[in-house]
Symmetry: C2
Subunit: 203 residues, 2 copies
Amino acid sequence: MTTVRVLLADDEHLIRGALAALLALEDDLAVVAEAATGPEALAMARAHRPDVAVLDLEMPGADGVSVATSLRTELPGCRTMIVTSHGLPGHLKRALAAGVRAFVPKTVSARQLAGIIRTVHAGNRYVDPELAADAISAGDSPLTARETEVLELAADGAPVAEIAERASLSQGTVRNYLSAAASKLGAENRHAAVRLARQRGWV
Amino acid sequence: MTTVRVLLADDEHLIRGALAALLALEDDLAVVAEAATGPEALAMARAHRPDVAVLDLEMPGADGVSVATSLRTELPGCRTMIVTSHGLPGHLKRALAAGVRAFVPKTVSARQLAGIIRTVHAGNRYVDPELAADAISAGDSPLTARETEVLELAADGAPVAEIAERASLSQGTVRNYLSAAASKLGAENRHAAVRLARQRGWV
DNA sequence: CACTGCTCATGACAAACGTCATGTGAGGAG
DNA sequence: CTCCTCACATGACGTTTGTCATGAGCAGTG
């Protein structure tokens, strides 16, 4: 029996510590490194070369997906998986596109997580069935690249003039994109559109 | 030595289970009940009458603060504490106003948490120093009750007409409140105001 | 090559919005 | 009792929007 070397990255010390303790109970798993931020996770991974990196999606510095992207090129032998509280369909897609092998919500039990780590280590993938269903039913973003960009700039409630300036577009164009985005999303106005797009992980 | 009977409520199974395991290592603490939702937490508390209820702030059904409020009247002997990922000043204030004895971020370690549970059980209070500093520097909400109410209704990007209807106010009045709220918060428009108020936990 | 879809623009109009002046009534503070 | 604040309202004003028509340049596809 081989021992799986695991890197644990989560900014919540409470969870990270508790998780490490629980995984330590599994005698084929060994937590060889822990990290509380994105950059720290990268550094620890370089130093300890784990078999599997368990990454929280929301971390200070760099989120789980970008850490996974970096790891993919730097340590091809290291499988990555994402654990998260907020299972947005868009996040799942981004994660899979970044080569992440598993995407699980924090609502699973530690025992299940251990099983998933083994699955991933064996070279297989795992996606939470419910999240997968959501992602499939949610579908792809209907927004074009510019529409998405403009919508993001509108996300903090900025007026059109400011968005236009920051995007180097004319105000009329910005209004057109915003209008198109809102109608594609079935929203009454851009602010509601922002909310919807966020919910679906499209921004 | 008395044993402290603890109720653990958190919708993230991973965390709840891990936490229960870690707290079980402390021989003066006993996790007598677990819950994944607000209503479930209430039911479990009634059934098991714990000494201390450790409540996650964000749970389906009812959030930690409202559970704490209910517990305060139903089980006066049960001390409550809030654990959360997002330490917004406003949440801290609401929690303390609801009679919560401790407010801690999930970035603490399990050992620290155990200590805090003991502190709370002994009748003392605990507030994370950093959160406390934030809360003090952030100050109170400058908004009146109605301003807050209207701002909340505006939170999902609804047009003024809809807000007016839902608040049973005239559109002009709604605009006035929204305008007042935005200027008090130093925001350019109501949407930015919503964002700011959220950041500070005032909505 | 024609066709389609994305990008970017302009101009125009109606609706929604922000702001201000102004007024009434209720309730607390002095 | 008076003063002040808050809640609520109206009407009016200019500005910011959403929406639509229209058009040009530029990619990719059949």
